[in-house]
């Protein structure tokens, strides 16, 4: 590919209309799906900043990349040290010894609840069950949500008639329908999963629908010109284009499904105990060390699920979409 730099120099005198050549070209902005759900604005902001960093990195990989290494590692360790320090401060400076059970100091939590296998073992067992509930709920919510969004995207009237119910699903207080869920599905595993599905469904519907509908018009024209069937259009254009938004929905819902599973544990206690059930037991018996340990375990599990879906998203779409890289 040779350039014709010398001849370009001649252009000004012989081509008086050269200015007509310059036309403001809309920068082909990468399609970045804004998060639809309220709780995921942070990750949307992050993916936007990643897009910026990604493009800078592409222009000059080594020198422009922000410095990693010690700072990246030290910052979270530092914040952890500060957090534990604050925890000690509350335990020993704020609380009188008689009331110290409200916030037991970290080493006590570690000794009583974490390092004692007779305490830790039931917690881990319960957590495993809660994880099973959360992941089942998430899987069902994903199947229902993505299918529902695909159905709604088929026709305007379908969206208009179905979407309001999705919104109601989002706004109805779970507490209000807990008795009904119990009556219908019993007070065990199934109902816990149902709570999970109800909580995790909306972000999946909303994000998938948004993704399906944000396909570029020119891409649609391309498929129209090739006389593509609706099925081919869905499979080869709309669904792949919606993947980044679907993963945003999955990340949001993965966190929600963990919350749903714990809430479900608390209301539907038949059968083996989940971590939510244990939280309630520890609270009622004032086993505050165990309560703290269980809360921390449940939170770590939530973080792990979120990280897992971030990783899956990166593997699935990171090669072509900025939101996958984080």
């Amino acid at each position: 590919m040779t350039t014709n730099t010398p001849s370009a120099a001649h252009q000004a005198p012989s081509a008086p209309i050269a200015s007509a050549d310059h036309e403001i070209a809309g920068a082909a902005a990468a399609d970045s799906p804004a998060a639809v759900t309220t709780s995921d604005t942070r990750s949307a902001a992050r993916s936007a900043s990643d897009a910026v960093r990604g493009s800078a990195g592409a222009a000059a990989p080594a020198p422009l990349r922000p410095r990693r290494g010690p700072v990246v590692l030290l910052a979270p360790i530092g914040s952890l040290v500060v957090a534990i320090g604050l925890w000690y401060a509350v335990s020993y400076l704020l609380l009188a010894p008689a009331r110290r059970f409200l916030v037991p100091p970290p080493h006590q939590v570690l000794r009583v609840a974490v390092l004692d296998w007779t305490h830790l073992q039931p917690m881990l067992q319960a957590l495993a069950l809660t994880a099973q509930v959360a992941l089942s709920g998430l899987a069902i919510a994903a199947a229902l949500g993505i299918t529902g969004a695909v159905v709604m995207s088929r026709a305007r009237w379908l969206e208009r008639s179905l979407y309001p119910y999705a919104v109601i699903l989002q706004t109805v207080p779970i507490l209000a329908i807990v008795p009904l869920i119990g009556l219908w599905f019993g007070f065990g595993f199934t109902s816990r999963v149902v709570v999970c599905v109800l909580i995790a469904l909306f972000p999946l519907i909303a994000n998938t629908l948004f993704g399906l509908q944000s396909v570029d018009r020119a891409h649609h024209d391309l498929f129209t010109l090739q006389k593509a069937s609706r099925w081919a259009r869905l499979r080869k254009l709309e669904l792949p284009a919606a993947l980044p938004a679907i993963f945003t929905g999955l990340r949001t819902s993965s966190g929600l499904s963990v919350i749903g599973a714990i809430v479900g544990d608390m209301f539907f206690k038949q059968g083996a105990a989940g971590i939510g059930t244990l939280l309630d037991v520890y609270r009622s018996r004032l086993q505050s060390e165990d309560l703290f340990a269980a809360i921390i375990l449940a939170s770590l599990f939530g973080v792990a699920v979120f990280a897992l879906f971030t990783l899956v998203s990166r593997l699935a779409i990171g090669s072509w979409h900025a939101s996958g890289r984080s």
Binding site: I17, D216, A218, D221, L225, I317, W320
Partner: protein, 248 residues
């Protein structure tokens, strides 16, 4: 038409009104012969893009006749319009894939088209890894691979930088000289239209209509240096005068 030249595209008394009440095109008569390359220049909002959407069948005219005797058209969009999750090869092969051609055949055709636009070696890359000019080559290859008799270009080089743009013009007219398709090329740029086309059509706005036509007699393939010849400048000057006449 009684002429011996086979027609690739013809517009007869075509009007296009939009629901909003605007008249995008009024009384358009346009014929593109087989193997003829027609450039269309005009100010923004003169209905150039509407002309192309009608020719491709993406929109229907309000009145008048449009015929594309060859059937299929190749459409090159304003942006490269590639699917970012597909490799270059798989993007180029997409039209054949949608037409249900067997995999071996479509890959062979796609590779031919990729070679024609000078992108061999890049077929496994994703669009995000390519420059703007290379993405536009992929888009060209995708339109070429179905070997349609008629090509429609919707300002395909408008978003490229000047150097890339000139090089792409040279490549396109080389491919035109090699393959002999019929083309309708929409652009803002007078020099681009004159450099590429056998005939340049000038449009004016409100309502969109054809106001002038210019023959461009230079034989294809045309050397890059043609742009700086006095004869070229004379035609370009006449075309832009016709374009300016519209503005007053």
């Amino acid at each position: 038409m009684a002429t011996a030249v086979r027609t690739a595209l013809s517009f007869v008394a075509v009007d296009k009104h939009f629901d909003s009440g605007t008249t995008a095109l009024s009384g358009v008569e346009l014929h593109v012969g087989a193997g003829e390359f027609v450039g269309v220049v005009g100010p923004s909002g003169c209905g150039k893009s509407t002309l192309l959407r009608l020719a491709s069948g993406l929109d229907a005219p309000s009145s008048g006749e449009i015929s594309v005797p060859g059937g299929d058209v190749g459409y090159v969009f304003q942006d490269a319009t590639l699917l970012p999750w597909r490799s270059v090869l798989s993007n180029v092969a997409l039209p054949a894939e949608l037409a249900g051609r067997p995999k071996a055949e479509r890959h062979e055709r796609a590779m031919d088209a990729i070679r024609l636009v000078g992108l061999d070696g890049f077929e496994k890359q994703l669009p995000g890894q390519l420059s703007g000019g290379m993405r536009m080559r992929v888009s060209l290859a995708r339109a070429l691979m179905m070997r349609p008799a008629l090509f429609l270009f919707d300002e395909p080089f408008g978003a490229l930088d000047e150097m890339t743009r000139l090089r792409m013009q040279e490549e396109l007219q080389r491919i035109f000289a090699e393959t002999g398709f019929a083309g309708l090329f929409i652009t803002h740029s007078v020099t681009e239209a004159v450099f590429l086309a056998n005939r340049v059509v000038v449009m004016s706005a409100r309502p969109g209509r054809i106001t002038a036509e210019f023959e461009v007699p230079f034989a294809h393939p045309r050397p890059a240096s043609l742009r700086y010849e006095p004869e070229f400048a004379a035609i370009a000057g006449a075309v832009s005068a016709a374009l300016r006449g519209d503005a007053t």
